[in-house]
């Protein structure tokens, strides 16, 4: 549809690929193609109007790309908590050793819009050490 729009423009009606407007037209076409791309941003699958703050016991850990994760038991309920890429966690001092099964962790984050019991953590606190994950 974006191509049709550019073809309809009056001065190009005779021959879209001729004359001075040609390069502008092509540039316009290419840029319009990209216009639909940035519909979503990171974190967009999570409801940031509903911050959660949980403390629980780590049941499972994954220190893996593209995102680390833990399963956290909070009052008998099991949450999947999506963390940051391992390289970022490591550079901010949240090492693989700290994410131990059985450890107590506090996470602040947002619930997934569709996947039940999944949240993405903004920050995590283990042994009184808080790491920002965004």
């Amino acid at each position: 549809m974006f191509i049709l729009v550019s073809i309809k423009s009056k001065d190009m009606k005779r021959n879209i690929f001729d004359g001075k407007g040609k390069q502008v037209a092509l540039l316009f076409i290419i840029l319009s193609l990209f216009a639909f791309a940035p519909l979503h941003h990171g974190w967009s699958s999570y409801d940031q109007t509903k911050p959660l703050n949980f403390t629980g016991t780590i049941l499972e850990t994954g220190y893996e790309n593209p995102h680390g994760m833990i399963k956290l038991e909070v009052k008998k309920k099991k949450w999947t908590v999506v963390l940051a890429p391992p390289a970022r966690m490591e550079s901010r001092g949240l090492t693989q050793d700290m994410l131990k099964v059985g450890a107590t962790a506090t996470v602040v984050g947002y619930p997934h819009l569709k996947v039940k019991d999944e949240m993405r953590a903004e920050r995590i606190t283990i042994d009184n050490k808080t790491t920002e994950l965004r």
Partner: protein, 160 residues
């Protein structure tokens, strides 16, 4: 063995686990993949633009001779890096609709290129500098749209 089992087996293979657990290998492969498709799609786009009438001083044949081999060579790094990224997330990707769409679009884009090279391009020696056949212009436009969509799908996999 079901198809789903194959994806699971791939995802838990030593190589896939190693890629996931190494902090920098995963982004390194992503970088290789990106550099690869810069050549793949970049060369194709420059050729498409020539067909659409940009840079008329250069002959279509010469532009094709220079840029298209780069497009083909790039497959040698785009495909392996893509496969490595795929196995590291095989189960999730196998059910990801955007990834499926991306693969279909790649197939259509290659078909478009194949049709162009089979039927339209062989007569290039007869094309005059200012008159590119409509079929060639159409193939160029389709290529621009499809490859843009492929890249968009690639980027959007992570958001769906």
């Amino acid at each position: 063995m079901q198809t789903a089992d194959v994806f699971e087996w791939l995802e838990y293979s030593h190589l896939a686990v190693y890629i996931r657990q190494s902090p920098l290998l995963f982004p390194a492969i992503e970088i290789v993949h990106i550099i690869g498709f810069i050549f793949l799609v970049g060369s194709a786009f420059l050729f498409d633009l020539r067909l659409l009438g940009i840079a008329r001083k250069l002959s279509v044949k010469e532009v094709a001779g220079y840029v298209l081999p780069w497009s083909r060579r790039s497959l040698l790094i785009v495909v392996p890096s893509g496969l490595l990224l795929f196995i590291s997330q095989a189960t999730a990707l196998s059910t990801n609709g955007v990834f499926g769409l991306k693969l279909i679009l790649i197939l259509v884009a290659f078909t478009n290129a194949a049709i162009f090279h089979r039927f339209t391009f062989p007569t290039v020696s007869n094309w005059s500098a200012s008159e590119i056949p409509v079929a060639a212009k159409a193939a160029a436009l389709i290529s621009l749209v499809l490859w843009t969509a492929v890249i968009s799908c690639g980027r959007l996999i992570a958001y769906f």
